[in-house]
């Protein structure tokens, strides 16, 4: 069964460092997303990406965040200067022609900023 793959599964970084979270979406999907979940809280939307550009971003997704689809398979989230409050589980998701309907999530990257 096709699945969304995320690497690494766990990343520990120093405050102020840059991190890149990587995702391989389901191969024939067209819509790509990043969500995050702070421990014990709701899953929150960060950004959506379609046709090689950002479709929508939340107020969380400020200038320290960026996304890229560098080739036909990978989708990355870069956090330029990490803060303690960026510690969370980050989920990549992808969807087919239905857009966010039936978005399929990866297993997540647990980011710990120390």
């Amino acid at each position: 069964e096709p699945e969304v793959t995320q690497t690494p599964s766990h990343q520990v970084t120093q405050m102020g460092q840059e991190v890149i979270l990587r995702c391989v979406p389901i191969s024939n999907h067209l819509y790509f997303y990043w969500y995050r979940q702070i421990l014990g809280q709701k899953v929150e939307f960060l950004v959506s990406f379609y046709n090689n550009e950002i479709s929508e971003k939340s107020e969380i997704f400020d200038d320290q965040f960026s996304v890229e689809r560098p080739d036909g398979s990978n989708f990355t989230l870069k956090i330029r200067s990490t803060k303690l409050e960026d510690s969370a589980m980050y989920f990549c998701a992808s969807a087919g022609t239905g857009g966010a309907g039936g978005a399929f999530f990866g297993q997540g990257t647990r980011l710990t900023v120390v």
Partner: protein, 112 residues
Amino acid sequence: EDQVTQSPEALRLQEGESSSLNCSYTVSGLRGLFWYRQDPGKGPEFLFTLYSAGEEKEKERLKATLTKKESFLHITAPKPEDSATYLCAVLLSGGSNYKLTFGKGTLLTVNP
């Protein structure tokens, strides 16, 4: 402000004891309502999409229903492997085509 509220926050059942989880929403327009299952430390696993009031979807022991203001996830004769957090999310009309708004989830524990 648009809201998605799930109840109860936690539910303990004995194996075979059927019950329902609730997701109520106060949104200005609904394009779709989604149910996901989330195991600890894992990503949400897609279960169902519901688009209009009166719609129902079934999968094994789970059945999701939708009214104009809420959705129910009915669990019939649950087994311990059904233990997980069940998340509800909505996709709004008239705005973003891409953003899911999630509730906090219901933590379901099924005891053998």
